[in-house]
């Protein structure tokens, strides 16, 4: 596995791969890799000739009061994990390489989606995401890029951006990977102490209950959401940011889940913010 740190080296390596007719797969990460990332890398490895993974903790998607400086970093371990998965190139630029002036001065914004779900509570977050993903797409020029379903709003925004701006790139979503007890894998799980770790399970438990209620015929989004909020409120150490039932593409709230829906939840467990979600499939006709 080659480790490249400059934009020009990465563009040149990708250009050569492309000239040889290789199908290029890209997995973007902020490092602190877990099984969720590695599942995306494995899918890329199985479906592409040449796999690039990136590690870049992007400052422009963190708010001023967020955890940019303490975000977990484990470069040596991450690089070893990617090498085990037979990644061809790890692209790991510095902040200075990506933003010579310290921040972005050209921005990509997705109207109507960037202020939904996490975007409402994290102003500027999805603008930072869309901008850095655009830049990384131009640097690597992949044929296909893989994103986890765990950040469902991010996935919806990237799909819309790719369609709106006609990127010649296929976007593939990867299912959420969970710990044996159901907690969604997250780089931020390392922040949790033993007690918080147990309390955090309420998120997955509530989503599973909502899925079961849906299987048993419940279709009223308002009732399903009320149930979920009530259950989470019973866990005193968990502070809910939102539990919303929305259309998976527009992220607009739905009244009924009969045409399919995304149930997305975000909550603080102690000092740690966690997100999780499930997709309810549309009714068969």
């Amino acid at each position: 596995m080659r480790i490249l740190t400059t934009i020009s080296e990465m563009q040149s390596a990708s250009g050569m791969s492309r000239d040889r007719g290789r199908r290029i797969g890209l997995v973007l990460t902020m490092g602190a890799l877990h099984e969720g990332h590695l599942a995306l890398v494995r899918t890329a490895r199985e479906t592409c000739h040449w796999v690039v993974a990136s590690i870049f903790v992007n400052p422009t998607q963190f708010g001023p009061d967020e955890d940019l400086t303490k975000y977990p970093r484990s470069f040596e371990r991450d690089a070893a994990l990617l090498e085990q998965e037979h990644v061809d190139v790890l692209f790991a630029p510095t902040v200075e390489e990506m933003y010579p002036t310290g921040t972005a001065t050209t921005w990509v914004t997705v109207d109507g989606l960037s202020d939904k779900l996490d975007g409402r509570l994290r102003p500027g977050h999805f603008r930072g995401v869309a901008t850095v993903v655009t830049k990384l797409f131009h640097i690597v020029e992949p044929d296909v890029a893989f994103f986890g379903q765990k950040d469902a709003a991010q996935l919806a925004i990237i799909r819309r951006m790719v369609r709106d701006l006609s990127f010649p790139i296929e976007i593939v979503g990867g299912a959420i990977v969970r710990e044996p007890d159901g907690l969604a894998m997250s780089s931020r799980n390392v922040y949790l102490d033993g007690m918080e770790r147990r309390q955090a399970l309420v998120l997955h438990r509530v989503l599973s209950q909502i899925r079961k209620m849906h299987e048993q015929g419940a279709r009223d989004a308002g009732l399903l959401a009320s149930f979920g909020k009530h259950e989470i409120a019973l866990e005193p150490a968990v502070k809910l940011d939102f539990l919303e039932i929305v259309h998976p593409d527009t992220l607009d709230p739905v009244a009924s889940v009969k045409d399919g829906a995304l149930v997305a939840v975000a909550a603080w467990v102690g000092e740690t913010r966690l997100i999780d979600n499930i997709i309810l499939p549309p009714d068969q006709h």
Copy 2:
């Protein structure tokens, strides 16, 4: 010359050209072609294996009170001119093909430049330009794209955008092409009647005088600008929008032109808005 009208046809044709290792050149136009456009096409033809020209009158860069509906359209003539210049592909999508919902929903904005010069008087104009250029870049995937120097702010914004977002594309500026009497070529010149056509010459005359004063040692930007504005005010039918002396990259006003400067002018001649500019070279050290 092939004429393509859908994004998927264009992406597929470009992909095949790229796979064959051809250097792809792109000239973006809104049609109503004149010698300024054709000079760019000739440069592309001389330096690239495969030349794409596009004709698309982009609605998202026109303000609500601007000349979108009356903008001159001459598709048959334009296509014949491009064929004479041995263009390989003319890409001419409809508005519906480019914006299925009628307008853009993902936008590209260049901070700090989009509100300078024309951008100050045409809010949203350069956001529309940056967005459509991004989309067309993704559709054609050129190695090099050619833009006229006449819209100096547009050229500066595209250069900045390409650098900020790491587009793997080289941007080449083409010198302003002028009528024999000095008027800068413009698709909007057809709006001028005989009297206005003569009055419009004041723009080039003033810029030439400023160039001569610069050659003779004048360096004070304020004095040069005052002179220019005064001269234009003497032409009663010409209403100045701005005459500004700015840094060619940042578009910020400069006090002295000793390090080089862009002298940009925009004015109404009757109902027609014209722009023109010159570059003053930096002093030799």
